[in-house]
Amino acid sequence: MVANNINENELAAQLKIKLGEDLSITEDKYFTMLNIAPGRLLALMQLLKAEYGFDQLSNLTSVDFVETFEVVYHLYSIASHAKICVKTRIPADNPQVESVVDIWPGADWQEREVYDLMGIIFTGHPNLIRVLLPDDFEGHPLRKDFVRKEPGADA
């Protein structure tokens, strides 16, 4: 049950009406997935937080599908214990997506980590710098085309 006392199917139906073609809905045994076009991501996220009570951004990560990147968000509602998954696909030659830091401050370091390890730019992020790797590290290691250099080889 989500906020407004509706279940995930009704939620999906209402969102489809509001966002139309840009939203497609899939599901598996555990999650309903809202696949949104990157340009409407912020609109969807604002709706989910403000109107449907998803106040906790549980997980923010990314997957490299070689031609595209997929940014994945898992959201939870503390009050109603509801959960939902949001995904968006961006092209590999221009990996940019809008930051959700203004909606959930908890996205701050998670987006920095995705930038650090996967190289996706989050526009609007106040401090998008590396968080886990040294500042002079070259490349984004979680990408599939990353070539590993022997650490300390040029020490």
Partner: protein, 167 residues
């Protein structure tokens, strides 16, 4: 007692002085080996076993290791427990350089010896001996406190024999 190194008797006196110095050296080494002052260093799972070795059941104080110092200038033993990441490398080098001589290093656990299970990664150095000289290697993942004591006793033997670098 004036010394004149021209005559034989004076050379004997000189030799006697040197023998006295060697005995002092043995005494100092014995003292050092029973009172290492480890630096409070650790990253990752291995230092938890170092903590356990210091706690009541295993009690490293039996071997004189209980004076754990937080400041490198006051420590003489660097137990490198845990992997050395690219970011940690300058910190370890600096801390080791700040320790006064004579100082010793124990490479504690598989990560410190060779990179351990994370060897294939992109951010771990292949062992701490690629950046600082190591005296004792003790393998384990993590190293049991009993194995840590074995390493300590081996280091004691090494120091008592005088088999270490001088500054």
């Amino acid at each position: 007692m004036a010394l004149d190194i021209e005559t034989d008797t004076d050379v004997n006196e000189l030799a006697q002085h040197n023998i006295l110095v060697t005995t002092f050296e043995k005494l100092w080494n014995w003292g050092r080996s029973w009172s290492f002052w480890p630096l409070n260093y650790g990253c990752n799972c291995c230092p938890i076993e170092v903590m356990a070795a210091g706690a009541a059941r295993f009690d490293q104080a039996r071997f004189g290791y209980e004076v754990v110092r937080a400041v490198p200038r006051q420590a003489d033993l660097l137990t490198v427990a845990g992997p050395i990441t690219l970011k940690m490398k300058p910190a370890v080098e600096r801390v080791w350089a700040q320790m006064p001589e004579p100082k010793w290093v124990i490479a504690f656990g598989n990560c410190a010896i060779s990179g351990g299970p994370f060897r294939d990664g992109y951010s771990i150095l292949p062992g701490v001996d690629s950046i600082i000289p190591v005296d004792i290697y003790i393998p384990g993942c993590p190293v049991r406190p009993e194995a840590y004591f074995h390493a300590m006793l081996e280091l004691q033997k090494k120091v008592q024999k005088g088999d270490y670098r001088r500054g």
